[in-house]
């Protein structure tokens, strides 16, 4: 079912290369901020405001770099946001084309079942907390697995190596602690 690492690795490498060749390196986590800003601006229309030259925000993070994030949230039909939507569509179509993710797996991944039994709500709580920490960390670091680790290291960016060192230094012990059974 899963592609051999040689085929999969070359294909994934070609996608990262195509992105740099045609546009810019791949990144995802910023778009969580953009979606937050879009939602926030619906709840509180004063969050993002137009200036003479562009956009700014009452939130310092959205206003940084001359309101780049504020501007992207005001105009979501931009490359980076559409990229993430298309990524979701691509994953959906690919999963459907191989018969879809089995029902049991969609409800509860096997690795959770092997370690914690049939406790889906505990799993959802863990995924929620994990998501919180992942995105908080990604924004603090200024990128995630795709932006820092893959796009960064392929460009020989020192930041990519620092990020990867931190990510694996935490991920390996936490994974061993939480999921001791192989499943």
């Amino acid at each position: 079912m899963v592609l051999n690492w040689k085929t999969g690795g070359v294909l994934l490498g070609l996608v990262f290369f195509a992105a740099v060749l045609l546009v810019k390196p791949i990144g995802v986590s910023t778009q969580f901020v953009i979606l937050d800003a879009i939602i926030g601006n619906v709840v509180n229309p004063d969050l993002i405001t137009q200036t003479e030259t562009g956009y700014t925000s009452s939130n310092a993070y959205l206003a940084k770099s001359d309101g780049k994030y504020a501007g992207n949230a005001a105009n979501p039909l931009n490359y980076s946001f559409v990229f993430v939507l298309a990524m979701a569509l691509g994953a959906f179509l690919s999963a459907m084309a191989r018969g879809g993710v089995p029902r049991d797996e969609r409800r509860l991944p096997a690795i959770w079942y092997a370690n914690y039994g049939d406790t889906p709500w505990k799993r959802y709580a863990m995924a929620f907390v994990g998501g919180f920490i992942v995105l908080y960390g990604a924004r603090l670091a200024g990128g995630c697995t795709s932006g820092h680790m893959m796009s960064g290291m392929m460009q020989t960016a020192v930041s990519g190596y620092i990020f990867a060192a931190g990510a694996f230094a935490a991920a390996v012990p936490v994974a061993m602690m939480l999921y001791p059974k192989e499943g």
Binding site: G9, A60, A86, I133, L135, V158
Partner: protein
């Protein structure tokens, strides 16, 4: 408009490949991070190496616009943020991109991951001034060598293009050399699904 078409094409290809290499499957992530099945790690290392060799090779030949590079700033927060992301990645089995892909392919827990992620990103938006005032976001945009025309400081004065190709080959070599598993006994067992 061209940029939107490119976003759709490259984005869809990225999502499809993530799905096909097992990266959107938390069982594969869990087995990679517990070092009991390193197939996905080999895939990722080979991908970084392949992309690096093509990009720097293309730049040397003048086929790739060096202006498309985008190197992020190195600062203390990159390491702290990396630690946090790593912990959450291990707990959830998803990172931002693969979480979105997994949710799209119908995994219920991934929707909770996205909800938590939106809240986490919002929490960072609120706490950003604190990190900034603490000076933890200050740094430089550095590459290992000095890439001609890229405008980034080099950690060394070596040719950035050559360093990029050599590092790419190193990543490929590690991908080939890495065994199927580093922990546990016997043959590595492929994860579920």
């Amino acid at each position: 408009m061209t940029s939107i078409i490119l976003a759709v094409v490259i984005g869809a290809a990225f999502g499809a490949v993530l799905d096909r290499i097992g990266a959107t499957n938390p069982n594969w992530i869990g087995k990679m991070l517990t070092l009991t099945h390193l197939h996905l790690m080999k895939t990722i290392l080979l991908a970084i190496g392949t992309a690096s060799v093509l990009m720097f090779g293309g730049q040397m030949l003048g086929l790739v616009d060096v202006g498309h590079m985008s190197v992020k700033t190195a600062y203390v927060g990159v390491f702290i943020g990396g630690l946090l992301l790593g912990a959450g990645w291990a707990a959830a089995g998803y990172c931002p991109g693969t979480g979105v892909c997994a949710a799209a392919s119908g995994r219920k827990d991934a929707w909770f991951f996205i909800a938590g992620g939106l809240l986490g990103a919002a929490a960072y938006m609120v706490s950003y001034p604190w990190w900034k005032n603490a000076g933890l976001l200050e740094g430089e945009k550095l590459t290992l060598g000095t890439v001609p025309g890229a405008g980034y400081e080099g950690l060394t004065s070596l040719s950035g293009d050559l360093v990029g190709i050599v590092m790419g080959l190193v990543f490929i070599a590690i991908a080939i050399a890495l065994p199927d598993r580093l922990r546990g006994a016997g043959e590595a067992v492929a994860p579920a699904e």
